[in-house]
Symmetry: C2
């Protein structure tokens, strides 16, 4: 099934905020086996909205829309949709009462503009919004469906997961079960992997699809099974995963679709290990990635962001001599940082970074982008120097992902 | 001048990556006084690309395009553009030689597919790409211009800033100077601010525009001056800023367009203060925000991410009794964390957080989203408890921004 996404909001067209909704929606639809063929971002203007809907319906039957449903006068999506589908606005008591309860639960008063949130076109099915006041609206016209959802990411996600995706599948008689298994693979490029898996792919059953999702240092392999017999799909999926394990062995480092920090967390938990980070140039971003994972307190004790040499010395115990002899961006310093933070935070593993994130501070010997990284587990320490050419943000992000990968590599090393 | 952006890439339509390019481009174009009226994200398919270009040119004269210029066979943008504009592909020696130098500088060998990066349509002007191998292509057709740029964010940004924006202005005879001044305002809502500035706005000279850019806790006021006499525009802008200062006084906390952490950094530098953070639930994200600012090492010494109670006690010196009596998510603990990290990192200021980011770990008294935050400067400590309802990511992000704002508030308090 093909669909398009329309994102409404002046704030996106002036570049004030990044649209994260369409990525999330596309990802969820994709997991259901639905294709997103276009994403169109438009202003809050009535003409733009009407034209974008007509244009989308000339290509596909399903249009998912977010944004433009706020209580302020610049949000015109609701009346525009009402006109487009030939209805009139009515006051929906059920929505009103739910919004009353929503406000009361937060100790807030409703005013006239929030009261207007209960006005809806009489030509749509209203889907309750449990986490906000903007109603979710389902429009049908012949074989076509348009769903209008709030632009607030949390509200849109609850709507999609709670009701919209399931309703879409029912409406189009898509009663197949769809199941996924994701394997995260390292030590392979995408092209190298596709060579290794050529005969596996040639023998895939028709109910199974394989997708390659590459990222720096990692390729995700996603198996999607589709059919009406869930039990047999599960069985086939298990078989396919076993086949992949037989081919790729321990190049598969995680059997879940998660971030690199999430995969690392699983390995740490399995092995009963704990972790701390000692960060200079990454400035806490590695700790942030690790703690973005729910349940990370089971294996993450803490971190030291050691920006000044004083903190490197006094808190992490890096010696003044080592700092003076090698400079802060060096192998001995980053290794001492890793060892130091393991002791300080009483962990079995550590990640440390020291580098020049720029834009200033580079030298001919150590240009901007030079980053020393060390990872340790017990007595073992591995360190590496990389040059990540790019912006400050890019350097921090790449060093973060690379250092996480290094520890995964150390923990799963073939000795 | 109106323009549209076309973003090409299958990886965006399956929700694998977030498109950050279009936000950045829209923001830069907007600063130039150019309007972006639509952003269209499409697949790497030839038909989709052609249709999207025709459709965009039916509405506007300027189309900026990113992506689809890689060396692999699924990147078809170059031949599609060649066909669309009625040209043929030629080998560009200048591009080839530059790419040779680019590869040699990185110690890499060119292969056949990277060699093909030097093939370009003979109907475009090639703009050199100093930071990558994909050529930037400028097409003209009557009054219309299309610019195709690489999808790699760093390469696109260098192209836009280095040449594309200026060329566009010259091409359309847009010789006006465009100048901006941004003021960051707190203690005001957007609607409250627009009431306070009603008569200021009514008297604005025609060469000046005022935009409100609201974010949680902050409203950015952006003055844009446009005209052919730069010196007089500068003078008028200065006058307008003075008028705004007279009306808003110390509600203006920063006179630069930056993040909250950037504004805090400016205040710390001006006052000769230094900062450290002690983070539990924010997991290093506040340190990450602070260190994302270039030059932050001038005022940021370091941080402790204290996830375990053991690290809170041993590293930050929070007493076992205080932890046992109040729990980790409490006012006494978060204040002790702030005081502790100031001593440890030898700073004059600190930010500390302790909360429940979820999804598990909540209780009826302290539900998920409960966050205690403390900020300190010298002897002064201010703390606050908030409940941020939402996902783990949302709670971490809101607590981060709120805590940064609290310290700005403390440093600029009217005593």
């Amino acid at each position: 099934m093909k669909s398009e996404i329309i994102v409404i909001g002046d704030e996106l067209l002036i570049g004030q905020v990044i649209d994260t909704n369409s990525k999330w929606m596309a990802s969820e639809l994709n997991k259901q086996g639905w294709e997103v063929t276009r994403i169109t971002t438009i202003s809050d203007g009535a003409d733009d909205i009407k034209e974008a809907i007509s244009s989308a319906f000339s290509r596909v039957d399903v249009v998912l829309m977010t944004g433009g449903l706020g209580p302020t006068s610049d949000d015109v999506t609701k009346p525009v949709l009402c006109e487009y589908f030939g209805g009139k606005m009515i006051f929906d008591n059920a929505v009103y009462e739910q919004n009353m309860r929503y406000f009361a639960g937060r100790g807030l008063q409703m005013n006239e503009s929030t009261r207007r949130q209960a006005e809806v076109p009489d030509v749509c099915t209203v889907i309750p919004n449990p986490v906000g006041t903007a109603p979710i609206m389902w429009f049908e016209q012949g074989s076509r469906v348009l769903v209008a959802m709030p632009g607030v990411p949390h509200e849109m996600r609850v709507a999609m997961k709670g009701d919209v995706l399931e309703r879409l599948r029912r409406h189009y008689g898509d009663h197949d079960a769809i199941l996924h298994r994701t394997l995260m693979v390292f030590r392979n490029t995408e092209s190298g992997l596709s060579e290794r898996l050529a005969s596996f792919e040639a023998q895939l059953p028709s109910s199974i699809k394989l997708a390659y999702l590459p990222m720096p240092g990692v390729v995700r392999l996603r198996l999607t099974a589709r059919g009406n017999d869930e039990a047999s799909l599960l069985k086939i999926l298990d078989e396919m995963v076993e086949k992949l394990r037989a081919i790729l062995g321990d190049d598969i480092f995680c059997d879940e679709d998660t971030t690199l920090a999430g995969a690392l967390g699983k390995i740490l938990k399995q092995k009963g290990l704990t972790i701390a980070t000692a960060e200079s140039c990454t400035g806490g971003n590695i700790a942030h990635e690790i703690t973005a994972i729910a349940g990370s307190s089971a294996y993450f004790n803490g971190s030291v962001v050691a920006y000044s040499n004083d903190v490197k010395q006094r808190v992490l115990g890096v010696s003044e001599e080592v700092l003076a002899a090698n400079g802060a961006v060096s192998q001995p310093v980053v290794e001492a940082m890793a060892t130091g933070v393991m002791q300080l935070a009483n962990t079995t593993c550590a990640i440390a970074t020291s580098g020049i994130a720029g834009p200033d501070g580079g030298t001919p010997e150590k240009p901007v982008g030079t980053v020393w990284m060390a990872v340790s587990c017990g007595e073992k320490v591995v360190s590496e120097c990389m040059n990540f050419a790019g912006s400050r943000t890019y350097i921090i992000e790449r060093a973060t992902q690379r250092a996480l990968m290094m520890l995964v590599g150390l923990l799963l090393a073939r000795d």
